[in-house]
């Protein structure tokens, strides 16, 4: 399998007063095409910071990120925006991830219009994608506060996949939703996974969910990757102490 994303020796530090905290400490991993890679760990273990660095919302202090072999760190303006055609993200809080003054449809179309697709064409594609994500056409003309969290997360997924990215990052995409809605969203993701050849980077702290969806798992603890393997391997035979504790806390 070809590697879509390569992350090499990534480091990010935050300074808090005189103390410096290594949020991400020398992290390296690959994501292959069509693969679903899970990134698990407790809050503050640096999972979201990695997602932010891949999407250039934060800049790394050291290390490199490569998309299809090309370095994508430190890009500016037009070049950076071109990368967003290939990398998309679904956020943790669905309602906050849509501009409250814009209709859902306009939020979904924004990316396509920015990448030079004409408005009527973008609208057609947007409606198609909404349907794939299980929302009817009316949702395009609703505002974020008029729909439920689950519906909003569907729209958010639609916004992410509408530009046909190569890599979709889900940053705790289901943790703000209640259990039944969570199951629906997971079902949608599973369905999308079987239909498209997108690679997924699932950031999650819910081991059960990761087990259902992911092909491979990275366990993070205090900014470092402490264990890798298939979900079954890790959950049944954890090697690291921390992983054992993490699993014990769930089951």
């Amino acid at each position: 399998m070809s590697k879509i994303l390569e992350v090499r020796q990534l480091v990010k530090e935050f300074s808090k007063g005189s103390k410096t905290i290594r949020a991400v400490d020398d992290v390296s991993f690959d994501v292959c095409s069509g693969e679903c890679l899970g990134l698990v760990g407790e809050s503050g273990s640096g999972k979201s910071t990695i997602a932010k660095m891949i999407t250039a919302l934060e800049s790394p202090d050291a290390g490199g990120i490569f998309l299809d072999g090309k370095g994508i760190t430190g890009l500016k303006g037009r070049e950076q925006r071109a990368v967003y055609k290939d990398i998309q993200m679904v956020f943790q809080t669905p309602t906050d991830s849509f501009n409250p003054r814009l209709k859902l449809g306009d939020g979904i179309m924004e990316g396509m219009i920015n990448h030079g697709i004409s408005r009527p064409e973008a609208r057609k594609k947007m409606l198609e994608t909404l349907k794939i994500c299980g929302l009817s056409q009316e949702y395009a003309d609703r505002y974020p506060h008029q729909v439920s969290g689950g519906e909003c997360q569907r729209a958010s997924i639609a916004r992410a996949i509408v530009v046909n990215p190569k890599l979709l990052i889900c940053d705790e995409a289901t943790s703000a939703l209640d259990v039944t809605v969570q199951a629906q969203i997971v079902e949608l993701m599973r369905q999308l996974k079987s239909e498209n050849h997108m690679a997924y980077l699932m950031i999650c702290h819910d081991l059960a969910l990761v087990q259902q969806l992911c092909d491979r798992l990275l366990v993070m603890y205090q900014g470092k990757i402490v264990e890798t393997g298939t979900p079954d391997e890790i959950i049944m035979h954890p090697r690291e102490d921390y992983t054992k504790r993490l699993i014990d806390s769930v089951f």
């Binding site: 906050d96 991830s97 501009n99 939020g107 924004e110 990316g111």
Partner: protein, 286 residues
């Protein structure tokens, strides 16, 4: 339980509904527009020439002929109050517009870019905020000389930092919202992010502050004029009219009461409009 339900019901009935707020908003807007229209057409609707002096009818009490009486030069007070509204209201509006636009743009720029430029501009605005406003305005107006335009400039100099601080703090809180990140991920440049995603979401509090400020600014302009640093005589302006009449408060109170009442009513009207605009922009009202 029943009592609680009853209380909730009472509470809900007290809560303003979207429709009530809208009616109120239209009502105050209509009144303000009427006021603006009267001021704009002042030259046509005044019953007497507000500048024509006739000492034979000086200091007459309000009568059917002169509804608000006359001042010490025999000028009709009603005509002068209407004419004065033009100067006072429109200079206050101009002033508020200048400081809102300028202050907001500076604040948005600072909040969005951050770093050293932000720190520098904010320290500059701290310097402006450190002075008591009116004292600083008197100093600026003193340096620039009298005249209504100079008074506007003086007040603009000291009032913009309020808006830049407000806009900056709003931008800082909105900047980290996921939808701003999502907009960046959609490939929107900084201009689009600021004007399409950030500004529309912070404009509410700024608009409310601006509307409430119209009254305050009107008072400050009138204050400067009262001190002789704003509108120059014989121009009809409420502050300077009050200043001219203050020595006759006991003998001819209408000379000071007429413009005073005008300021009172106008400031209150703009404040009520500001309150209603705030309610109307409140997303929690259904």
């Amino acid at each position: 339980m029943e009592l609680i339900l009853k209380k909730i019901e009472v509470f809900q009935s007290q809560k303003k509904t979207r429709k009530q707020v809208q009616i109120k908003l239209y009502f105050f807007l209509a009144l303000v527009l009427m006021l603006l229209l009267v001021s704009a057409c002042a030259a046509i609707i005044v019953p007497y020439d507000p500048y024509a002096q006739d000492l034979s009818i000086a200091l007459q009490a309000p009568s059917s002929e002169h509804l608000m009486g006359t001042d010490r030069y025999g000028r009709d007070m009603l005509s002068r109050v209407i004419m004065g509204g033009q100067t006072t209201i429109f200079s206050a509006l101009l002033l508020v517009m200048i400081i809102t636009v300028f202050g907001t743009l500076v604040g948005v720029f600072c909040g969005y870019s951050g770093g050293k430029t932000d720190a520098f501009i904010m320290r500059v605005s701290d310097v402006f905020l450190a002075f008591p406003g009116m004292v600083f305005a008197i100093a600026v107006a003193g340096v620039l000389g009298g005249g209504i335009i100079n008074a506007v400039v003086a007040l603009a100099c000291i009032s913009w930092p309020k808006y830049s601080r407000l806009a900056r703090s709003q931008v800082l809180s909105v900047k980290s919202m996921p939808y701003v990140s999502a907009a960046k991920l959609s490939g929107s440049g900084p201009g689009k992010v600021v004007f399409k995603h950030i500004l529309p979401n912070i404009v509410g509090p700024i608009l409310v502050t601006a509307t409430l400020d119209i009254g305050t600014m009107m008072m400050e302009l009138a204050g400067l004029s009262f001190l002789g640093l704003g509108a120059m005589p014989p121009i009809a302006e409420w502050g300077s009219m009050m200043s001219n009449g203050r020595s006759m408060l006991q003998t001819a109170p209408w000379v000071i009461l007429a413009p005073g009442l005008a300021i009172f009513v106008t400031v209150m009207l703009f404040n009520l409009l500001g309150d209603t605009v705030r309610d109307a922009l409140d997303p929690k009202i259904k």
